[in-house]
Assembly symmetry: C2
Homo-oligomer: 276 residues x 2
């Protein structure tokens, strides 16, 4: 086919993908072409705008390395990550809501005994965290793997501190026979998503702040259950209603109370969706 | 706002961009959010599919360097570049049709006298190219800058040959008092777009060939006129109906005839759209 115009080219490209052997890939890419062309037709970009978009995407890819994932950050700040999360977690009553993984998860954090301290050299107010892991609407889950990570009082994760060679504010625990876990750490604070890349440019240009309300990340895995990826947010944080990545859910906001001894306390229970 | 679900999150993100100071940026990014979310809702990607998309985009950015632009290639192979071209060139009767710039344009090619040879050390069948540049529906344009570039008989551009230190099959000419130009070069051949990156993976996975029909690129600039970016395609090429970047227009196909002396001959005239 030749001589496409601005209305015929879309179906020509869709047709060109018609021979895709894998039916799922064919469905996805044909839908992508229709939506992407629809966007272009709606906004009618000039060449300069198209070049700016190419440059933005290129620099976003080039900002990524083993500790930084700028395209995930872009997906997060455009609300796409939470949309994908919502689509993949149509949860049963009683299951803990999910939220984004975020860019600071690191695989294979140290596995520590219950009651351990995970602060290492990082600074902040002392925090005791405890909770129980259950099957949604069912029994406690012994031996569940509870992976936790969060920022320090300056709003930085260990991987953002070049001087931090060891994992800090990051660990994995196994729940006991009653599905319980507990550990000592520091109170997390609100922090900005990284703003020294293209996503930071986008936030600045659109008048958006880069802040996330204070939270502790949890990833909880137990056999026979869907792995739960979520955060628990600190009640009262000023950014709960304007999280830069749209990750807040009411049920995930908890009081981080003050103990008589002066430290802070989080007690939060989790319920995992049964598989199959 | 909190507790977005898969239908409310889109308007929440659109609203978050509502304070964008620049009205054009606001229009573009709000449209992007609606179309991007619409795509995600249509295909309902699994997390593994979302991760594959993040990885594809990341690797596409990382494949780019000063001689390779994989995001432009992605835009080209998805038909987006030709759509942007069509939107930006609603041309008057008589103006030469436009087509994609392509990834092999290099700025500031050597400016050579009319009649020069541009083949350098590259190999192929000899080709004489000549033509006249006019204002669409008007007079010949003297002193127009005619920038040309194309591939050799193996389908490679000079920038794809690491051993080629000098510009080859690439030059700029000034039209004479009658708007005419002419030079010697080699017959271009059909060639594949680069397939050693993510776009190559995409073409393979979707059962598409990477070939472009043989062509000579022209970029023609004259004062008071819109710069013309186009190709002239070799009539009879087997890929004219399935160009990997959807760039063929009937009017841009020309006979590359054989002269009595044995070499090939292209004679093609161009008409530029007047500005304003």
């Amino acid at each position: 086919m030749r001589d496409f115009d601005e209305t015929t080219i879309t179906e020509a490209v869709v047709e060109r993908f018609g021979a895709t052997p894998d039916p799922r890939l064919r469905e996805v890419i044909q839908s992508l072409v229709r939506h992407l062309h629809g966007f272009v037709r709606d906004v009618e970009p000039s060449f300069a705008e198209w070049e700016a978009a190419i440059s933005f995407l290129t620099r976003t890819g080039q900002k990524c390395d083993d500790k930084r994932q700028e395209f995930i950050l872009l997906s997060d700040t455009l609300g796409v990550s939470m949309l994908v999360d919502a689509i993949n977690h149509r949860l049963p009553e009683g299951a803990t809501p999910t939220t984004v993984l975020g860019p600071f998860y690191v695989e294979n954090a140290p596995e520590l005994p219950l009651g351990a301290e995970v602060a290492q050299a990082m600074k902040g107010e002392r925090l005791h965290v405890s909770g129980q892991v259950r099957s949604a609407g069912g029994a406690p889950l012994a031996g569940a793997l509870v992976d936790i990570w969060h920022s320090d009082e300056d709003g930085f994760y260990d991987v953002q501190r070049p001087a931090e060679e060891n994992a800090s504010l990051r660990a994995r625990f196994r729940t006991d026979a009653e599905g319980r876990f507990h550990f000592w750490t520091l109170l997390p604070t609100a922090y900005p998503v990284p703003t020294d890349g293209p996503v930071g440019e986008m936030l600045t240009a659109t008048g958006r702040h880069p802040m996330r309300p204070a939270h502790v990340h949890f990833m909880i895995a137990a056999s026979g259950h869907e792995t739960l990826v979520t955060h628990v947010f600190v009640a009262g944080d000023e950014y709960l209603d304007s999280d830069a990545v749209f990750g807040v859910k009411q049920e995930l906001i908890a009081e981080f109370t003050r103990a008589p001894e002066g430290h802070r306390v989080l007690q939060y229970d989790f319920a995992l969706k049964r598989l199959g």
